[in-house]
Symmetry: C3
Subunit: 425 residues, 3 copies
Amino acid sequence: MYQAISKLYPICRSITGNGFRETLKIIQELIPLEIHEVPTGTEVFDWTVPKEWNIKDAYIKNSQGERVVDFQKSNLHVVNYSVPVRKKMPFQELKEHLFTLPDTPEWIPYRTSYYKETWGFCLSHKQFLELKDEEYEVCIDSSLEPGSLTYGEYYIKGESPDEVLISCHACHPSLCDDNLSGIALSAYLAKHLSSISLRYSYRFLFIPGTIGSITWLCLNEAQAQKIKHGLVLTCVGDPGKVTYKRSRQGDAQIDRASLHVLKHSGQEHEIIDFFPYGYDERQYCSPGFNLAVGCFMRSQHGEFPEYHTSADNLDFVQPQYLADSFSKCLSIFHVLEGNGTYLNQNPKCEPRLGKRGLYKGIGGQKEGALNEMAILWVLNLADGNHTLLDIADRSGLAFDEIKRAADALLEHDLLKECLKSAAVS
Amino acid sequence: MYQAISKLYPICRSITGNGFRETLKIIQELIPLEIHEVPTGTEVFDWTVPKEWNIKDAYIKNSQGERVVDFQKSNLHVVNYSVPVRKKMPFQELKEHLFTLPDTPEWIPYRTSYYKETWGFCLSHKQFLELKDEEYEVCIDSSLEPGSLTYGEYYIKGESPDEVLISCHACHPSLCDDNLSGIALSAYLAKHLSSISLRYSYRFLFIPGTIGSITWLCLNEAQAQKIKHGLVLTCVGDPGKVTYKRSRQGDAQIDRASLHVLKHSGQEHEIIDFFPYGYDERQYCSPGFNLAVGCFMRSQHGEFPEYHTSADNLDFVQPQYLADSFSKCLSIFHVLEGNGTYLNQNPKCEPRLGKRGLYKGIGGQKEGALNEMAILWVLNLADGNHTLLDIADRSGLAFDEIKRAADALLEHDLLKECLKSAAVS
Amino acid sequence: MYQAISKLYPICRSITGNGFRETLKIIQELIPLEIHEVPTGTEVFDWTVPKEWNIKDAYIKNSQGERVVDFQKSNLHVVNYSVPVRKKMPFQELKEHLFTLPDTPEWIPYRTSYYKETWGFCLSHKQFLELKDEEYEVCIDSSLEPGSLTYGEYYIKGESPDEVLISCHACHPSLCDDNLSGIALSAYLAKHLSSISLRYSYRFLFIPGTIGSITWLCLNEAQAQKIKHGLVLTCVGDPGKVTYKRSRQGDAQIDRASLHVLKHSGQEHEIIDFFPYGYDERQYCSPGFNLAVGCFMRSQHGEFPEYHTSADNLDFVQPQYLADSFSKCLSIFHVLEGNGTYLNQNPKCEPRLGKRGLYKGIGGQKEGALNEMAILWVLNLADGNHTLLDIADRSGLAFDEIKRAADALLEHDLLKECLKSAAVS
């Protein structure tokens, strides 16, 4: 995943344009992504697909003709979606178009202006302070013209048409945690899931933030109803503790599965309630859809100093954190996959476990028998009203122990699975 | 309000009689109160309107003919509703009719005997210790005769016949916090509300405690069903923190509005559960009515030392506390008035706020946009199942911010109000 | 109760056999217990009634012919349900059949092997260390043959056919807290309840653990539906604080009554959630029955060092703890018995309590009137939707105070009891 991030890092992405296309092509080396193009001007709910933005070069030259701000050194230097400009102007006029971060004077901020046609440059505050009050030549060699919005989609067919959605925004330029980490994690999760047999179908979306999810939801309104669980992945490669933001529903199965996995990880983590800000969960959880989509992240976007600055770079993201995020997401999917509802076939009193080899022979010993407790919990609560996750949560045992117990009991015909449709609580 | 209290302070009130009438006349200088007289002997549910009590003078004279206890100095000296008496008796006999507070020897207690025909005097324990063992002349020049029970009522017609009830007891003699403060606050709230346009109708009752609310409820049983929210006001002028006692329903809209206002006041306050003791909420919340009536107070009656003593005087109540109670009650009514339920007219994904001037143009800035969050919360939860108060509570934002956001969205046709009837959750 | 325990202590009990029969005969001296015999081989749900086990003698003799381990000294020395054995063997072979507790070297462990035909001896670790590496003569003079499973049952007919179940296991040999204490407490509760008039019927079971409750439930499946409340009694004579384990239902009336009694005892106690391990509540709370049966104990089985060792002896159990358990169980039954649902006959406003002598005459006094509060709470919540226990819990008052208030109101025709059937919430 870290290599993929390194490869994607230099590309200047935006919500439309060739940077986005180039990014999807690199992901196609990992998974057979389907690429969609939606023409500029397409009406998507209350929005319109914007003009396509592309950029070749940009700089500010001082009176000596030296590039004092240079797009070739960092694509963050240009306010994303800046209209083309080429003119000379005094420093006082130029200043209105410059953005810096005085508190972290070494860092370049990341700024966008998608829906208002303007232009600007971002630079470190240190660079800014070195600028003299002289005339500058400003050039942004960009184009903002009719074209299309591009997004990538990958569908893995499972046993059921019910879907798990994994969505990440792929519209940020040279920013690693937000959201090259989410892109890489999605791609590797997709690669892994495509190699195993699955109960649910999985849909992966690599989209520009906001306008991408609005476009997809508008063009796939019926399909969206099949999404039973989902995660937005963002900021998943930094050293912060894992943070899970609940879906608008608040206690959906994806919320409970995520909480369970984080609780049993034994690691520090944070659970936050849904709020209508953030990334594409805003759209998936709008009241007209209200999908069970949460957001999985490490440091919460907007809450760490490196967020949306040049410091969100290849040092900030590390392989071990990506690996940890990968493993936790897989555990969450594992819970969703295995979370059946069962009926105890011998509901009156306990069945005799000893004769089936499910119980040790000598009674009266003090040491707790952990797996036996899982077996007893499953038998006790397998009344058709409790999923395995319900049983795990009530017993305090890990889902895996409960699942293994259920599998053993199923093998001995002591359990029967309820209809799959009923299993989705 | 403090001036009104000062004017009302000297009057000797009781649950019936001229003191009560005089009190209502003074309130009529502020609001056009309607005055009702209910004849002695009227059956009201399990009770009977009592005889009317009036008093001209009362004293205890010592053997030198000096008034050692004198009604003219404080009307608390006479046990309220004492039958007339005029005789000489030795100290040993008189003692049986004297009440003092040994723990606060400077204070005169307040005692009543409404439903048992007897007589008595209250005096400071210091006065009591100075009494010699000699013969005393006792005089209570009172009358207890058929007459009527008097109460005041003021109705402000709003857009809807649904009512908000504000009730205060006006039967206590020279006691300021309990309940001249409640009388003055009610009158000034009424005066203010009568000058603005209102969604709800408001009914103000100035009644004798217990028998007054029982009488009103009995004579207005059908009308009582229109009361959707209500507050009993008592002890609202002392320096204590604001205390709200929930209605019997416990989580009615008046309870939630009061909690919201107190929580967002940033000031210390206390919320207590309903219990079937206290003032007229006991009757409004009896199981046969079960009205959504809470009790708004500062120090809780019975819980502060000055309660029902001569120390509940013009020093104990202060204008700034009255003003604070006034402002908090208005805020509560403001929540009730504005607490509509709305439907997002663009429920699928977020509407484009930028083009409507509801969103700033440059994305990617770190500083939280507070009013925008209110807008996003309203859009997200305006699904017909959440009132604005629900949205305020879930978002953690103040009701006013949410209300302003809703008004702005309404103006842009992004919201539509649900039928008013549905708005009362 | 302590005397009964002393008398029962020496007997070698097991899940079947003469020790169990002898135990029931001693209990018959207290209550007219009905004794049932269920033949070996009877199919009971997934189980089969086992062969009957009896034992006359057992020992290990060293090469000098001395009994180094002797059943006559403690019946714990033999693994319960050991098959007969009589042979000589070297120490190395014998060792495989010896059980000790190295951490508490003076204590003999208690071991069983009900469902696997084997044999063994238990001894203190100190004894074990003294054994030399020589040849030993091993003798277990037991029999394991077709016979029957014995249990005792005592039914007290109350006003209603609805039952309260009290169940204790009586299969442990010389162990006092687990469960001679439970046996003695059950017997004395039965003796007491049989002497008073009761709303519910009470069924007492003295059964072997696990197989006993399975057998009873299988042979009395229809009758089991009449059990509305129940307690398993175990470990009720030790100095530990009282522990109540909730039924599987979790908030059944027996759970709420037990919590109420423990909370108002003013003593330290512990409430634990149901888990599918422990004693016969496992069977009563299996999903096919799901009876409202909790478990009342002091120290929790398995959680104290003396559990299932020779240290659970006549010193560990003390009369004052038995008496305290007795009194708390009676209080719980008292709540169940008295927990009616009532209708206030004067639901609109408060009735006039003073004229009925239920209220003191002089108002305005500060001191809280505790019984009056109980009266007011009952009147306020007697709307047919609250049991007296609901009212006690909501008011924070003790059930007895609420019950006394309800009785007084009933006497004055201010309350009417709802149909008994509705009273069981």
